[in-house]
């Protein structure tokens, strides 16, 4: 129970940070302050919060679990590809979004699309696609909170209470602190889980008697030696994974966050330090996930290895339920928790548990982004702010945060997590395929609203299609994200060239 108490203390701290940010808002312009922290974030908070916003439960738990099953390839597939693609997109796209937001007062990407392509309802269509892809992310965050709190308390806190506590804490600091509170909390969380990886590596390394012996034992076995190479994946499949991080800048919570920097120069440090932050957190998690395969004397890990072995030799006639049950047993999402439970002293397990909670509670930014999008792209666009004023707009945003969090919690209680795990995977592909919208809006003057509509409709159709038909669009062994993104680009080009361009006045506004 001690780890759970430490985690509760942590939850209390982040709640206080949210309240503190709320107090600091007095006297500032309501809308920009609540939704964008007054476009005034400094370099350290901007870097830490942007990184923290992008790190989810998957980073610590899922990456170790993926590495447990697939080996070192996890790092190259997900971490080093992000380390190069995300800073480059921030450099080329994030900086331009910031400049346009500062100059023209944009708060969401859809506002910029509407202005750039002189459209109204097409912007609403893009909003609907963006919002639909973001919802599973929020639900999975609440689910992750419930699961992690149950695991950290050794089952003393049931899933439904854990989920409620996490949802309530997130709702409170987003409701009160808005973007400033969320950014401060994310910065604190980033520091916590950056420390987590390094401490966990040290504690577990000492516990298992040193990593060289563990790695040599893996190399000695034909069943585990391939985990230390990439021979189980094809170079083409590997290549297609580099498309996934393109989604990052297209996620509304990241694009909106780019507008919070006080100065352009804030992006400089962020793009330089971002790859280093990825290295600091992913390398330990992936390495520990792989090393867990050597812990055959740890009962819970031995059970997982046994389930994996049974699964690999199972006859095709094995019932689907039994196969799914074995997959659940073999899943490595909790290997880091198991290793800490085995090797770390109770107090340290509590601190590290707080680090895990920090990663799990990444849904705050998505909740705020969806609230921002709703109030700006729907409420304000259809005349709400003009009629009722900015104060009501902020109240509307806060009300949306409450409704959204409660809805996410209720869905998290009833729906199986596997559905949303899958939905999040589709969301990554969907957002990567939406990225051409940003590129076209910022860099191609000939792009048009009809091209943008074609991309939005295509992405919605492709996500539904790939979700319903297993293996759809996985051409030539590539992930579906590759054809989805390339077809988006093609549609933007062909449809734009076939339709009239925006007016000269609008193009001049964007520097053409």
């Amino acid at each position: 129970m001690i780890p759970a108490l430490i985690v509760f203390a942590y939850l209390g701290i982040i709640l206080y940070i949210g309240i503190f940010a709320w107090r600091g808002q007095a006297g500032r312009t309501a809308v920009e302050e609540y939704f964008l922290a007054g476009r005034s974030l400094g370099p350290v908070v901007f870097l830490l919060s942007l990184f923290g916003t992008n790190m989810t439960a998957f980073t610590i738990l899922g990456s170790a679990g993926h590495a447990f099953a697939n080996g070192i390839v996890t790092f190259a597939l997900m971490a080093s590809s992000s380390a190069v693609v995300i800073p480059l997109t921030l450099f080329f796209i994030g900086t331009r979004l910031w400049a346009l937001g500062k100059r023209h007062g944009f708060i969401t990407p859809v506002q910029m699309f509407r202005d750039r392509w002189e459209c109204g309802h097409i912007g609403t269509a893009i909003f609907i696609v963006q919002a639909a892809l973001l919802v599973p992310y929020i639900i999975i965050g609440v689910m992750g909170g419930g699961t992690a709190l149950r695991a950290i308390s050794g089952g003393a806190i049931p899933y439904w209470i854990g989920g409620a506590i996490v949802a309530l804490v997130v709702m409170c600091y987003v409701f009160l602190g808005g973007m400033r509170g969320t950014a401060w909390v994310n910065s604190f969380q980033t520091v916590l889980f950056l420390s987590f990886g390094i401490v966990a590596l040290f504690v577990i390394g000492r516990g298992i008697g040193g990593f060289p012996a563990a790695i040599e034992s893996l190399l000695a076995s034909p069943s585990t030696a391939p985990l230390l190479t990439r021979e189980r994946v094809s170079p083409l499949f590997f290549l297609s994974y580099t498309f996934i991080p393109l989604s990052t800048i297209a996620f509304p919570h990241i694009a909106i966050f780019c507008l919070t920097a006080r100065r352009l120069v804030q992006f400089k440090r962020t793009v330089v330090f971002y790859p280093l932050c990825i290295l600091a957190i992913w390398l330990p998690c992936v390495f520990l996930g792989v090393a867990a395969n050597s812990m055959v004397n740890t009962p819970r890990i031995a059970e997982k290895l046994h389930a994996r072995q049974t699964l690999s030799t199972a006859p095709p006639s094995m019932p689907a339920e039994e196969r799914a049950d074995l997959r659940r047993q073999a899943s490595g999402d909790d290997v880091v928790l198991v290793m800490l439970d085995w090797f770390a002293p109770v107090w340290l397990a509590g601190l590290l548990g707080a680090g895990i909670m920090a990663a799990v509670m990444a849904s705050d930014s998505q909740i705020l982004a969806l609230s921002t999008m709703f109030t700006e792209d729907v409420f304000t666009f259809y005349g709400g702010t003009a009629r009722f004023g900015e104060r009501v707009q902020v109240q509307m945003g806060r009300g949306f945060v409450v409704i959204l969090t409660i809805a996410a919690y209720l869905i998290a209680l009833r729906a199986p997590q596997s559905i949303f795990d899958l939905a999040v995977q589709y969301a990554f592909s969907g957002y990567a395929a939406l990225m051409p919208l940003l590129v076209a809006a910022l860099f191609w003057k000939r792009s048009t609203k009809w091209g943008a509509l074609a991309v939005a409709v295509w992405v919605a159709a492709a996500v539904i299609y790939t979700a319903r038909v297993p293996g759809a669009l996985a051409w030539f062994g590539l992930l579906p994200v590759v054809p989805m993104t390339l077809i988006s680009c093609l549609l933007m080009i062909v449809v734009s060239l076939a339709t009239p361009r925006p007016s000269a006045a609008t193009l001049a506004k964007y520097g053409w």
Binding site: I72, F91, F211, T229, E231, L264, V265, V271, V272
Partner: protein, 85 residues
């Protein structure tokens, strides 16, 4: 160009060429087929070479991003009034 327009990058800047070259080089270096089937040598005695390579790759990316911010930084995007906040 209107008063509120966001300036575009100066045409033909050497920074653009450098940025393009860096993009291609970084992408090629990420697809490291040369360590595909090798676990050894173990760097520091425990890191498989494929993992150590991609760890070092992250360091290289950070260094190149630093070079990019020095040589191709889009400073033209910042208007003097943007610094008033």
């Amino acid at each position: 160009m209107g008063a509120g327009a966001v300036a575009r990058a100066p045409a033909g800047a050497a920074g653009r060429r450098l940025a393009a070259a860096l993009l291609v080089a970084l992408f090629a270096l990420h697809q490291d087929v040369w360590f595909w089937r090798d676990a050894r040598p173990l760097v520091f005695g425990f890191l498989p070479v494929g993992l150590a390579y991609h760890g070092a790759y992250c360091l290289l990316v950070a260094a190149l991003m630093w070079a990019l911010t020095r040589s191709a930084w889009p400073a033209h995007l910042e208007h003097p009034s943007d610094t008033d906040a």
